[in-house]
């Protein structure tokens, strides 16, 4: 007993301190273990089994993982997810940066506009998706005010369906990234801009040569977060395709997370669903690692500057 206690410190005082420290982090740690750590371990274990929820799980080794490479649905879901990333990430970041630069100026009602841009972030995705279904409704939808766009079957055509899903994703995400960019913009030292003005640089030159490089750590953070969140897109797909055909006609709107859900909860293939979850984890991790490698080439940290 005393040896066990000793790991918390040698003196009673140190032990008391350690005890309180542990007690205070316990609620979070326990929550993390119960709702995250243990499920992750269970999913990892399950991915080596075939289990439909009723019968005893059957060990199938790596079958679930080799199936991923043969499964056309997985290929389709991966392609859809990457397409969504290409649609969402660049446009979302450009819009967020644009809004942040605008709202960083001394505008009347600046805080009101900042709030308005942020509102979608705190709106439920489900509610937002329902409204966006109406916007893209082919006959009566608001999209019809743009000539030619009103007659397209946005939510059923396999080649179009990802666009409304990307739209609602961007609409919901842009406010959050704008706030991050705003914080970044306010950290750009004013002295740099003043010095540049004295040197005769115009506002365009200052934006590209001072603001953007100084923002690069923020940009990197947002880029990483964006990729991770695109790989988790689920609610939009679930809601927006539910009234026509879940996951889109021939799986045209099925993302990796939606496939995971369908595999587990509608097909009752919990083992294969766990394998898909692991694959998703590996994909997101790889993309993040690649970004971390690449950042050395373009991200500028002030502290590193000579």
């Amino acid at each position: 007993m005393s040896t066990l206690l000793n790991i918390f410190g040698r003196t009673p005082r140190a032990r008391r301190k350690a005890f309180w420290g542990l007690a205070l982090i316990a609620p979070n740690t326990i929550g993390l273990l119960v709702f995250f750590g243990i499920p992750v371990l269970v999913a990892f274990g399950l991915s080596f089994f075939e289990w439909n929820g009723i019968r005893a799980p059957e060990f199938t080794g790596l079958d679930n993982f080799t199936r991923i490479f043969r499964d056309p649905l997985f290929g389709r879901a991966l392609a859809n997810t990457l397409t969504l990333a290409l649609l969402v990430v660049p446009l979302n970041m450009a819009l967020a940066l644009g809004a942040a630069v605008l709202l960083n100026q001394r505008l009347p009602l600046r805080n009101l506009f900042r709030t308005i841009y942020f509102l979608p972030v705190v709106t439920s995705t489900v509610a937002a998706s329902v409204v966006w279904i109406w916007i893209f409704q082919p006959r009566l939808g608001l999209i019809g005010i743009v000539p030619g766009l009103g007659t397209l079957q946005w939510l059923t055509r396999p080649e179009l369906v990802l666009i409304p899903i990307a739209a609602v994703t961007i609409w919901q995400r842009v406010g959050f990234d704008m706030i991050l960019f705003l914080a970044g913009l306010q950290n750009v030292p004013r002295a740099l801009h003043e010095a540049a003005v004295i040197d005769g640089a115009n506002s365009r030159q200052r934006f590209f040569n001072i603001t953007l490089p100084m923002l690069s750590p923020t940009t990197f953070l947002i880029l990483t977060l964006n990729f991770i969140s695109v790989f988790q897109i689920f609610d939009q797909v679930y809601i927006m395709t539910q009234r026509t055909t879940p996951g889109g006609v021939s799986g045209s709107a099925t993302t990796l997370t939606f496939l995971l859900y369908q595999t587990g909860f509608t097909r009752s293939e919990f083992g294969y669903a766990s394998a898909i979850a692991l694959a998703l984890f590996v994909i997101v991790l790889s993309i993040t690692v690649i970004q971390l490698r690449l950042q050395r080439r373009w991200v500028f940290y002030e502290s590193e500057a000579g």
């Binding site: 289990w51 929820g53 059923t156 055509r157 009234r243 026509t244 509608t266 097909r267």
Partner: protein, 433 residues
């Protein structure tokens, strides 16, 4: 295992033939409940708030008169995530003792032996399962003897709801139960008024209320045969039914799915309620909504007859009460199920005037409960006479329910191409089982 039992069950179904409910008999057969042996506690799931109220009243009678001392924890798990929740609870080893089941979902639970065999209890209570129409209970049979695993709560059939005001305005005669597809097409054309944004008909949406009824009228089992393996989408009858409907769509007499705002039968029905569609195929479960919300004169008529076969065939579906194989108190669970399926338990559904009760003795009570002379509710009972039981399940249901109709009735794919794709998907789904 699954295939074998299904083949046997369907052989059993064929032996019974396509007999509807015993509506034609003078005195409908009675289903009498029995007292329980030993009271206890049960958990029960239903997916509908209104049903929970009705079933709750029935349970009160059971705990008062048939099983004093028993308690039932009745829980509503909304339809939207009922099946996900059920599968999760099954996986967690925490199934309710008694719950509602649909014919399209029962296969998974039967295949995995998760349901309580009710046949011994029915035999002990002296209940002959022939009191129910075959389409209502055959999908709930399993095993070599065709044992029954669910007692039907209700049945629903499909008929055409039509807007009498629009018929009057177009100077058309009201349809009768003898009308044919040709009459239907002629009416749809005459009722269409493109300038006013009114379509003649919307009758293809979803599996149960939609296009499969038209395929069934040709004599083909829609989507998949009752052996649960043979895709029938490319059969001649399927092509005939679908091409007939696609013809009406192409001619502009029916709206597309995008026009309707969604692929669900509710979307089509709402368009009918809004006066944008003159004729809609709707289930008997839509009667309360129509009586409450339609602000025009309307009536129901049986689906039109296929000109060659002379048949009007409605899909019939019954929700069932099932027990969990894993329940600690199988005798008690079966006793409650038998009570809920009996005349005494079904009376509550009949009097509520919502969905049609499965017990034959309660049909007239149900019709009278609507308290209307305007609408011929008997139409739905008549539709049982020549009805088509549900043969689809799980993903195969989904293919016929949304995937195929979206391809044909929204994206303009040809019937031949869409059905070929459909059969590929069905074959993949069947192979993956």
């Amino acid at each position: 295992m699954r295939i074998k039992s299904l083949v046997l069950a369907s052989a059993f179904a064929m032996a019974l033939g396509t007999v509807g409910i015993a509506a034609a008999q003078d005195t409908p057969p009675a289903i009498t409940p029995v007292a329980c042996e030993e009271p206890g506690e049960l958990t029960m799931w239903v997916w509908d708030e209104n049903w929970a109220t009705i079933i709750g009243e029935a349970i009160n009678e059971w705990t008062t008169d048939y099983c004093p001392g028993a308690t039932v924890d009745l829980q509503v798990q909304p339809w939207a995530n009922y099946w996900e929740l059920l599968r999760t609870n099954v996986a967690g080893g925490d199934m309710p003792d008694v719950f509602n089941m649909s014919q399209t979902n029962v296969g998974f639970y039967q295949e995995n032996e998760a349901l309580l065999d009710l046949q011994p209890y029915l035999d002990a209570a002296g209940i002959d399962t022939a009191v129910w129409g075959s389409g209502m209970i055959d999908p709930y049979r399993s095993g070599e003897e065709g044992d029954l695993y669910a007692l039907p709560v209700n049945w629903d059939t499909i008929a055409v709801y039509y807007n009498k005001d629009l018929f009057d305005a177009a100077g058309l005669e009201y349809p009768t139960a003898e009308w044919t597809w040709d009459d239907f097409a002629a009416d749809a054309e005459a009722l269409t008024d493109a300038d006013a944004g009114v379509y003649g008909a919307a009758v293809y949406s979803e599996y149960q209320a939609g296009w499969p009824n038209w395929v069934a009228a040709t004599g083909v089992e829609p989507v998949i045969a009752s052996d649960h393996t043979t895709c029938t989408l490319t059969d001649e009858g399927s092509l005939e039914g679908l091409n007939f409907l696609k013809g009406l769509l192409d001619a502009g007499y029916m709206p597309t799915i995008s026009d309707l705002g969604g692929s669900s039968a509710d979307d089509a029905f709402n368009a009918w309620l809004a006066g944008r569609v003159a004729m809609v195929a709707g289930g008997s479960w839509k009667l309360p909504t129509a009586l409450e919300s339609a602000d025009f004169n309307w009536e129901v008529v049986q689906l039109p007859r296929n000109p060659e076969t002379g048949r009007s065939r409605s899909i019939v579906h019954s929700v069932g009460y099932v027990g969990a194989a894993s329940t600690d108190t199988p005798d008690l669970a079966a006793n409650l199920i038998i009570f809920l399926g009996s005349d005494a338990g079904q009376r509550y559904f009949a009097e509520a005037g919502g969905v049609a009760p499965a017990a034959p003795s309660q049909q007239q009570t149900w019709i009278d409960a609507f308290g209307t002379d305007e609408v011929n509710i008997q139409t739905f009972v008549d539709a049982l006479q020549d009805s088509q039981g549900v043969t689809v399940f799980d993903e195969v249901w989904n293919i016929g329910n949304t995937e195929l109709p979206v391809n044909i009735f929204d994206l303009g794919m040809s019937v031949e191409e869409a059905t070929a794709l459909g059969c590929e998907a069905v074959d993949t789904a069947v192979a993956g089982m």
